[in-house]
Symmetry: D2
Subunit: 345 residues, 4 copies
């Protein structure tokens, strides 16, 4: 059994890692940390674990945790992660960082969007962990920067179009909608039930911090610098992201042709499902799972393609993809512990 620790396990992402790792047959969770809940049994914070585990939160230092485990998941806010990551890396522990701190290769870009980076030395070690596009580097790595939730949905939706040269790379508009769990479990008026239920709004339009992450990866795919429009919205649901992606087609193409290319592109990928022509995915169809479902239409009237990409933001958009990366790092079957069916309704 591989020994894993979770550093910062009291948020929704930490809880989701726990849900999935407790059902993973090849790992043992040796410690979960939380400053706020130190000493409390896990079910006192997340009652759903009542009767299912004896884990309790500890407040270990990074050094203490590193001494206990083979793999660590960092489920911390950005800028906090970069303070502890070097300790784990120095201890030769495999690190999967779920924060944004090591996703952006270019320090200046990071600092423009996020603020000061204090651990730039580790950037060169960090592998951007989207297995479908970056599997060999992940397998060879020891430090994974786990992708953001919006970027995962968008990059998987656009990769075939960019690789296949189907679209005008300056025409990309991404309109995304996310469930509330993406905002975390911190007490804030903005995410109270009464503020969210029966509501819907855009936020951080044109300035969401996932923008440079998407642009970096899309540019790598396209072989040229890409700038996109990105508008996130807050959905009155707990989980799920749906990204509606618009781009101008460079030539006349049918949806059927594009879907064939998508299917070929993702042929070996268990966690990417391409929909039949004429059908489009709903976030409900991936709830609780590590799948990304993709559908598209071609609008002949405007010669644009519209891709619909859905994921569960806490699974493929966070904890599930992190475990997928762990499986690759550890030489497990890539879908180990990730064979869930969606919970519907």
């Amino acid at each position: 059994m591989v020994k894993v620790g979770i550093y910062g396990a009291s948020g929704y992402t930490g809880q989701e890692l726990l849900r999935l790792l407790l059902q993973h047959g090849q790992v043992e969770i040796v410690a979960i940390t939380s400053r706020q809940y130190k000493g409390l049994p896990l079910p006192q914070v997340f009652p759903g674990f009542q009767g299912l585990t004896n884990l309790a939160f500890v407040d270990h230092t990074p050094e203490e945790l590193a001494a206990l485990c083979d793999v660590v998941f960092l489920a911390l806010p950005h800028s906090v992660s970069m303070q502890v990551a070097p300790v784990f890396h120095a201890a030769r522990i495999k690190v999967i960082d779920l924060s944004a701190d090591f996703r952006i290769h270019d320090v200046e870009t990071y600092e423009n969007w996020y603020g000061k980076h204090t651990s730039t030395g580790l950037l060169a070690e960090a592998v951007y962990g989207i297995p479908e596009l970056n599997r060999p580097a992940i397998a060879a790595g020891t430090f994974i920067a786990n992708p953001g939730c919006y970027p995962t949905s968008v990059i998987l939706g656009l990769a075939p179009l960019l690789k296949g040269n189907y679209i005008d790379q300056d025409s990309i508009i991404v309109d995304s909608k996310s469930g509330v769990s993406g905002a975390g479990r911190e007490a804030k008026v903005d995410t109270l039930y009464c503020e969210v239920a029966e509501g819907f709004k855009a936020y951080n339009v044109g300035r969401h911090r996932h923008t440079p992450e998407m642009e970096q990866e899309l540019s790598l795919l396209a072989g040229k610098k890409i700038t996109i429009s990105f508008t996130p919205h807050l959905l009155p649901v707990s989980r799920g992201i749906l990204s509606t992606i618009y781009a101008d087609l460079t030539k006349k193409t049918t949806a059927a042709e594009l879907l064939d290319f998508f299917r070929e592109f993702y042929k070996i990928e268990k966690f990417v499902t391409v929909y039949p022509d004429g059908t489009l995915p709903n976030i409900l169809s991936v709830r609780g799972t590590n799948y990304c479902h993709l559908g598209l239409i071609v609008d002949e009237r405007t010669n644009r393609v519209v891709v619909i990409s859905v994921i569960d933001n806490l699974v493929k958009g966070a904890a599930g993809q992190a475990i997928q990366n762990m499986n690759i790092l550890c030489g497990f079957a890539e879908d180990s512990g990730l064979n869930m069916m969606p919970l519907f309704p």
Copy 2:
């Protein structure tokens, strides 16, 4: 008191007309029809009216209803409305048709998107009833084609940009999200609670029937033929539409400058509210009201403007706008019966 009838009053739009008209000081509801609920007291179908009215559903012919009233609202499905509208018009009753049947001026366009039109003679009489852009024609008319819900949100959001020549007219992309009441009160698996709650999906992408209606009105505003991309989505809320509208700016402009132009453009309009720079509306802020709230940002990185337009689909998107049109037709104050504050939370 002006005598009004509602032909087809058992759906959500009919119910909303009732909610608003029962509180309108200058009208008397003389009859509400429903084939399905004939003879039933209104509260038996909509329990919220318990104790508030003695109205009951009747199954009058158009001729019978026309004999009773001065104004009639047609809250019928498209293609049904065109069968009865001529009777009311011939009886010299003021008609406000909430269906799509008389919104599209061009018969061929209508038939391409909707199917056979059997009452083309009335098309020339029909005035497209968006008061903020078409008030004089409405005031002079007797037959109003009440706009669709999506088109209302989109046309009000784009009108200043088109009139001010701020945008490339071929670059318009509209990504809209609507509450479930827009799908009506018919029993369908697709709109069951369990199919909608915690879900989100796009539907009819590139082929929604509101597309030609928007294109017609936007083309009139622009003075040239406009084609748009339109993607509607189903939100897990009962009411509300939010349209996110993208367009390429033709010149460098700031959000502040555009917002000033919007404010000037809608200066006399009670039902259009332009948000301060840096703020964007939520559908909750117009719930139950006849307001359209508009906000925008300029994305300097891509030189695009993003307009956010929100309405309540059942009020400004249907029954409220219909009453606003009635007020104009009857010479009432335009906001008569429409001075509601939003219900929040």
Copy 3:
């Protein structure tokens, strides 16, 4: 125009008072206070008021506010209200206190459930403001203790049964379910969207602070000391309370007979609606209104009566009833500003 102030206007109850008072034709809101939001325009805190008012929050002392107005609403947490109430009362301002501080006549009972009472001198002045049962005292008073949300639903549902001697007074069990707005607008993990949506739980079972308030009023109605079982639950809705009330019948009775008695009992009451035999109310039917809807069944198998009582916790359960009390205090028509129809769906 009567001049009104709201002391503590930044919560959901304060907001609801604003929604209703801004539409009330006989009052002028002269000041709204908030320590936290001092100086901010109202729409910056509650965007739904955008364009509808120029009010901004001030941080007046009670003395300053008292000097400006004829009536003041105290929308403060319990124990805070008792600190400022005496100032307003001394200034001969009409006071409507929405906290629990002056609802319990017996100091010892108050202190057992809530903690120290520091303004006991005012208790004798306070009139329990449930107009349907206490109208003359309200009309003669100057200081109103506005009832709690759960007690309003329960007292109105039980009053006829107790007055008519239909039930065993020791057999009362109240199972209530409330929307989340009852928990206020403070940022707390427990009321985050993700903690509430798709969930349901009981809380404070057997020890909710509304228990002694209900027992006090039910005892007055019965003419003897009554003890009840009370179980509140948290519903995943923003507004609404439904109380399911069980009691053993003392004699064989039919639902029809009881309903007749209820209708007679509430004959002159505009805001209490008794349902026809065989029908029961839904919280949706009173959403946004000041109505209490009552239905009941008699279970012959167990000889119990089950009363279903629904209200909107923010209206009849708080702000609406407060305005009903203000109307009585000021000699306005009792339904002035309260003629809303429910917002459905």
Copy 4:
């Protein structure tokens, strides 16, 4: 691999059986039937299965299906199930019937609540399948009447109290709240999103058909005939039942003492979790799982006990318990395929 069939697989219960059985390591699904969806691939009806199975609906006769499988699940409406069950039983197939048709031992009682029973000969064969109370009979049986959702939550919550003689058996009042999936996937106005969201209501008060089923099992536990009050309510959530159960204590007891007795009573039961003193369960904590969570308080003021029992109506209340029964019938580990963690948030 044991071969299983599902007769009537197109509702929410059928879908849930599929979700669980597709992840069960010891069975193979050989056929799923649906008259309505005959010929359609499963993902066309339930898109969440896209890419996960090649199953398609067939319209086999009972005889045809019986020839293919070792175990059959009947997920049919009551009165339909009794028409086909005898065929499967005669074919010596193990049958797990999820309808109500064989739960009531007494024909007259069944017919009073449900209507004509046309297969009374099989009643003697049917074992009421609540494993925690009836395991030996299930293991020895071949025909299981799978319990109703409400009864499962109520019987598990009351069994220790009755067995331990803690309560007055005539004082039981059950106030239950269920998610909408309990109403099935049929298109009905009552379960449309707009009718349910933000709403809450009681229904079938005093006459819900699960009443005699509960009374039968509670009477068996008590050793005397028990009559209860039962009030079901419709929660605006997709899944979950919470039952609040009231009973008069026969002697002075503490919650701690009762909880100890509960823990002892369910000591060997994996799927029943008794909460620590002072804590009560939320339906979210069992979502998607086969667990029943129990908590209770003692109200010293009224000498009543209040038990809170939560289950997922589609799992422990239907498909999960059915599989638990199958595991017993087939000699599998009882938790085989049922080791899920709850999906939260």
